[in-house]
């Protein structure tokens, strides 16, 4: 396999001036949690997510002069998602391509137990599991929309795709996720 060229990874270290550091701390650092959450859902692995976020921050520091104010969250998240997708590509190049399979397998039937607490836990699991089974592009838009509350315009900025694509990915992602979660529906009504 061939590694994609990433010249920025070996670029010269950049230093933030005191003023830049203040701006960085104000405009970018507050979105560390959002960055980590997105990476965690995209990569589905705690350690890899931490590594990717750290990488992404190093790039953000290196290219901070490219940040012209405005939306620090979208700027940071786009770096994070690019870092994650590069890792997913590297990963799928080295083993079977599982990330871009768009079909999802519905969860197996689970018999509703009498323990309500247990049921709730099982339901939580399945929302996360349902998300995990979606293709990365769909996980991305769902996390950005539902967990971060981003507008379509902001999601388009983060993902680097047109708003129409965001719209259709969300629609398809939701449809697939609903399909995956259908076995749980009767519990919700009961």
């Amino acid at each position: 396999m061939t590694h994609e060229e990433r010249p920025e990874a070996t670029g010269p270290e950049r230093h933030l001036s005191a003023r830049e550091l203040d701006r960085f701390n104000e405009c970018v650092l507050p979105y560390l949690d959002a960055a980590h959450n997105l990476a965690r859902y995209l990569l589905r692995d705690g350690h890899e997510a931490e590594d990717a976020v750290q990488d992404a921050f190093l790039r953000a520091i290196r290219y901070f002069d490219g940040f012209r104010g405005g939306d620090g969250r979208a700027w940071l998240l786009s770096i994070v998602r690019n870092t994650c997708f590069t890792r997913l590509r590297d990963r799928s190049a080295s083993r079977e391509n599982v990330e871009f399979v768009e079909e999802i397998h519905t969860t197996g039937e689970e018999s509703p137990g009498p323990d309500v607490e247990l049921e709730r836990k099982a339901a939580t699991q399945s929302v996360r599991e349902g998300l995990d089974r979606l293709a990365a592009e769909f996980r991305e838009v769902l996390v950005l929309r539902e967990l971060e509350g981003l507008s379509y315009k902001e999601i388009a900025q983060v993902s680097g795709v047109p708003i129409g694509t965001v719209m259709s990915r969300l629609a398809r992602g939701r449809k697939q996720l609903l399909g995956a979660l259908r076995p749980k529906a009767p519990e919700e009504k009961g």
Partner: protein
């Protein structure tokens, strides 16, 4: 509009991302179509479940510390020629602190504490110091749970004597202290612990700082409380939840009286 066309747009309709004309058309359709209305209901329920049940993976403290350190060390190295004594890794700053003390003599005052802007920037520095202190080998210069060991340790290192009290009995044990460096001055940092959370209390004399212990403020995910008492200012910083941090601040102030 036909059901298929509506179905395609329901997701964006729910997100309020359609143009007003299309939105109204869909509303009209939904009024007369039970199955599309039900589909919308399922989609709204899905969003609710995602928000309520899907875990939100906050960044672990170790990652937060690494990332802040990366930004900060880039910055400090950039300033290295201007301020060679600001080295954080080594112990060079101890000598620097001593030098500053020798020059400053007497009691120094944080002149910029006056304005709100200065206040906010101290707050930021305090949080940065807290984050730096979480780096390996930088949390404590004197590790002791004994206030009678920690307090004398500051003798001769600072031109004031920080009050040191252990709150182990209330669940906030003192674990040590160190000299820290803020705005070009050395200050006392007392280190407490609450479960796995570290609390830094930065202490320095400031005749002009006044009371107003407000609610904890949040900065970069850390909570900060400012207290003053008898010409001394206290900055309390931790990732501990605001309620318990406030309780700690109350203990601290009560011990000063």
């Amino acid at each position: 509009m036909k059901c298929e066309e509506v179905a395609e747009r329901l997701s964006a309709f729910q997100d309020d991302e359609l143009d007003p004309v299309t939105s109204r058309e869909i509303e009209r359709h939904l009024d007369g179509c039970a199955s599309c209305a039900e589909a919308l209901g399922r989609m709204m329920e899905l969003s609710e479940r995602l928000r309520e049940e899907a875990p939100y993976y906050r960044a672990p403290d170790s990652l937060r510390a690494r990332v802040s350190q990366a930004a900060w060390s880039g910055a400090s190295r950039g300033r290295a020629t201007a301020r060679p004594r600001m080295g954080v890794r080594g112990r060079g700053w101890l000598a620097a602190a001593a030098a500053v003390l020798a020059v400053a003599g007497g009691t120094w005052i944080f002149s910029s504490l006056q304005g709100q802007a200065g206040f906010a920037s101290i707050e930021r520095e305090v949080v940065s110091s807290h984050v730096r202190s979480l780096m390996a080998n930088h949390l404590m210069d004197v590790a002791s749970t004994d206030q009678h060991t920690v307090k004398p340790w500051f003798n001769g290192k600072l031109d004031f004597s920080p009050p040191v009290t252990d709150f182990a009995a209330s669940g906030y044990p003192l674990i040590g202290g160190r000299l820290d460096y803020l705005r070009g001055h050395s200050v006392a940092a007392l280190v407490y612990q609450r479960r796995q959370h570290v609390i830094n209390v930065f202490v320095w004399p400031d005749e002009r700082a006044t009371g107003a212990a407000g609610a904890p403020r949040t900065l970069q995910g850390y909570h900060v409380i400012h207290e003053t008492h008898a010409g001394t200012t206290y900055w309390i910083v931790s990732d501990l939840n605001p309620e318990e941090l406030s309780a700690f601040a109350k203990l601290l102030v009560a011990a000063l009286r």
